[in-house]
Structure formats: structure tokens, C-alpha cells
């Protein structure tokens, strides 16, 4: 599973992209965040305030309880501020 980070989430994690293989217990976006947050102190810092985190599964905006089963690309980022 390919994980992408954008904006300050990327800066806090210290990487734009990483490939991970979460265990079968990781079924939802929320569980994926819990699992990623344990990977390093930087990950923990990036995911510290969950209210500020938005996510997309395979390039589609997704809610915290969405299933990540079969997802190829999951992205985490702050609320968008374009336009």
C-alpha cells in the first residue's frame, strides 16, 4: 500500500511517500492512522490532532471509517486551501 503525505503532514512525517504493509487488523482509515502513528515520533506528531487530518483512498476523499481493503494509494493531508 502506497502512502502519500501533503503540506504540513508531509513536513511533519518527513517524507512525501512510503510503501507499507499494514497487518490484517488494519481495516479502516482510522485504524491505518493508529498504525502509522506508531511508526516513528514524527509520524506520531503528524497524526497527533486527528481533527486536522483529511484522507483520500485511491484519490477519492474518504471518511475515517472508510475501508482501506484493497486500496493501492492512501493520502493524508490537512483541509485543502487552494483556489
Amino acid at each position: 500500500m502506497n502512502i502519500l503525505y501533503f503540506a504540513w503532514v508531509r513536513e511533519k512525517v518527513g517524507a512525501a511517500e512510503e510503501t507499507v504493509s499494514p497487518p490484517p487488523t488494519v481495516g479502516t482509515l482510522g485504524q491505518l492512522i493508529d498504525w502509522l502513528a506508531q511508526r516513528s515520533p514524527r509520524h506520531a506528531a503528524a497524526f497527533a490532532d486527528r481533527k486536522l487530518i483529511r484522507a483520500a483512498i485511491d484519490q477519492v476523499h474518504s471518511q475515517i471509517n472508510a475501508s482501506v481493503a484493497g486500496a493501492k494509494e492512501v493520502a493524508f493531508f490537512p483541509p485543502v486551501t487552494g483556489g
Binding site: 502519500l4 501533503f6 503540506a7 504540513w8 508531509r10 483520500a56 484519490q59 476523499h61 493520502a75 493531508f77 490537512p78 483541509p79 485543502v80 486551501t81 487552494g82 483556489g83
Partner: protein
């Protein structure tokens, strides 16, 4: 009328006037053409008088998803209003103050539809398109926070 919707996510600067010239010629039999241009602000804070000058901006984006999301917004707009055509241009990368960031244009037989669709595109783009602004001032470089006003405006179009 065009079949393909003109959506561009680009690093290069663009010139809104040149885009309007092209768009209105391309849709010369549409009675109504509306455009919106978002230009980079040169201050941060509530207003220019009390705000801090911005010297530069970096626009992060999610390549692939950005184009996809804008295409979805465009299709949504076309399903809500009888539009002859529309165009969306959004920049990413480094910008300097006063440069255009975003441009939308809509063409329709009636002005109400052209106005509503352009405003809808901007409101939804502001809360759905994966772009993130980082503003640099003399003191710091900071990621822009989500504006509550933008969230509220976008909710007007929920259905």
C-alpha cells in the same frame, strides 16, 4: 460547444484576459459568459492595513487527484446548470504576490446559470480540490488554515 472540458493544473503562469478571449470566441453563441480569477494576496490577516506582507507562496498539490477532483466538480456543475462550456485553470508550485492562482469560466444561454455555476465551482474547489497554500512573510513560512467562511459557502450547494 466543446465535448472535452478544459481543465488545467499547471505550474506555469497564465493570463486571465487571454483565457477569456479564447473562451468567449470559442463560445460566441452563448449569451452569457462569467469568469472568476483568484489572485494571490499580498498580505495575510483580516485586511491589508493591519496584515503582514506576503513575499511568496508555495502551492502544494496532489497530482492526479487534483485533475480528477476538478473534472468531477466540472461534471457536477454541468449536471446542475445548462452550461455550453466551462474552463478551470489552477496553478501549483511557487507563486509571487498578485499572480493569478485560479481561473474559472462558464458559458450559458442565461446569465443566472453562468453566475451560479462559476460561484459553485469556486466554492467547491475551495473545499474539495487537493491544493495547499504555504505563505512566506518576512518572519515565517506558514501553511494556510482552512477558512470557516469557505466551509460555510460550500455547504450552500450540498444536496
Amino acid at each position: 460547444m466543446t465535448v472535452e472540458i478544459d481543465i488545467r493544473v499547471q505550474r506555469e503562469a497564465f493570463e486571465p484576459g487571454a483565457e477569456l478571449t479564447r473562451f468567449s470566441l470559442q463560445n460566441s453563441s452563448s449569451g452569457a459568459v462569467c469568469t472568476f480569477t483568484g489572485q494571490m494576496r499580498d498580505f495575510r490577516g483580516p485586511d491589508r492595513a493591519t496584515g503582514e506582507p506576503i513575499t511568496a507562496m508555495e502551492l502544494d498539490h496532489y497530482p492526479g487527484m487534483a485533475e480528477r477532483q476538478l473534472a468531477e466538480l466540472a461534471a457536477d456543475a454541468k449536471s446542475r446548470w445548462p452550461l455550453d462550456d466551462l474552463c478551470i485553470i489552477h496553478r501549483f508550485g511557487k507563486l509571487i504576490p498578485t499572480e493569478p492562482i485560479v481561473f474559472v469560466a462558464t458559458a450559458s444561454a442565461h446569465r443566472g446559470d453562468a453566475f451560479a455555476a462559476a460561484e459553485f465551482l469556486m466554492d467547491w474547489l475551495k473545499t474539495k480540490a487537493p491544493f495547499w497554500k504555504k505563505e512566506t512573510t518576512a518572519k515565517s513560512a506558514e501553511w494556510v488554515s482552512e477558512a470557516a467562511a469557505d466551509v460555510e459557502r460550500a455547504q450552500r450547494w450540498a444536496r
